[in-house]
């Protein structure tokens, strides 16, 4: 994967498959400590202890089309190759929390990339699901919560083309603001 945001897109798919109705994605960047922490927290079906142990194994998958499952192993590798860490906590019926911490100054650090594109496409493709996206850079942060958007939108779906456009611009403008009005 060339961008961590692509890993996020991939891991988020696991939450969709776990029939989660809510998924929170948090990206917390600490410039002084040179760390980036990405957390995905869902309320899906969760995993048993054995499943958690086996998801980081590339030869474990719930899929039947082929014998490998690389989503979690690739995300884990991306974190660990920077000297960071990777953790999954989950229990059946209680959802899953995936946390990856990256040391951003490491030579093998993969750039976060176009996370906004990931978030807006996830919302667009799963309009029945709720997403919370939180982006934090040092003291500055912003949040997009689809439940708030839903309150305003009523019966108009989140994947209405104009709503999608609004979401994209919202993310873009707020990201710009995080970095002091400059393009990242």
């Amino acid at each position: 994967m060339r961008e961590l945001s692509l890993n996020v897109m991939d891991i988020a798919q696991n939450s969709v498959r776990a029939e989660a109705t809510e998924l929170a994605i948090r990206c917390v960047q600490d410039t002084a400590a040179q760390t980036l922490t990405i957390t995905l927290e869902d309320n899906g079906c969760g995993m048993s202890r054995e499943q958690i142990a086996s998801v980081t194994d590339p030869f474990f998958t719930t899929r039947t089309t082929r014998k490998v499952g690389l989503g979690v192993p690739l995300f884990k590798m991306a974190a660990e190759q920077t000297g960071g860490s990777f953790e999954i906590t989950s229990a059946p019926g209680e959802g899953t929390v995936t946390t990856a911490t990256f040391c951003t100054d490491h030579v093998d650090m993969t750039p976060l990339g176009d996370i906004n594109s990931t978030v807006s496409l996830l919302i667009n493709s799963n309009p029945e699901m709720d997403f919370v996206f939180e982006r934090k850079v040092d003291e500055k942060s912003f949040t997009l919560d689809t439940r708030q958007l839903r309150e305003v939108l009523g019966d108009v779906p989140l994947n209405n083309p104009e709503v999608a456009l609004w979401i994209s611009s919202f993310l873009e403008e707020n990201e710009k603001d995080l970095f002091g009005g400059k393009d990242q």
């Binding site: 994967m1 899929r63 690389l70 989503g71 990931t118 108009v156 083309p161 104009e162 611009s169």
Partner: protein
């Protein structure tokens, strides 16, 4: 900065145009493979291109969505186009530019872009 008030205006406008999509049986479905293999091969820009182009052209009878791995990872990014009453078309090795051509030729003008299909590619 984008405001919720703006969103309200979008809602009011959308409500006047609603009810077309739900009851339309001629809904075309575009499925973009977004499993690990698809994403790694560059499926995100493809999905983005489909979503944006369909929105730009106001194609209300098209639903763009993501799907998992269908088992032909070597051909990713893979896009399936399902037109009701017609055979499913599988496009392989897609990119954003090819996606625009598929929107124009296939989704709008109903001509399959044969050169991008799996049948043509595996010849």
């Amino acid at each position: 900065m984008k405001s919720l008030a703006e969103l309200q205006a979008i809602r009011d406008k959308a409500r006047t145009q609603l009810n077309i999509r739900n009851e339309n049986e001629n809904n075309i479905r575009v499925l973009v493979g977004m499993a690990t293999c698809g994403i790694a091969a560059g499926a995100r820009p493809v999905l983005n291109a489909f979503v944006e182009e369909c929105a730009k052209r106001g194609l209300e009878n098209v639903t763009v969505t993501q799907t998992g791995c269908i088992g032909i990872c070597q051909y990713e990014p893979v896009v399936e186009v399902v037109v009701p009453g017609e055979e499913k078309v599988t496009y392989v090795k897609m990119d954003a530019e090819k996606a625009l051509k598929v929107v124009n030729d296939h989704l709008v003008n109903r001509n399959v872009v044969t050169e991008y299909t799996i049948g043509k590619y595996s010849e």
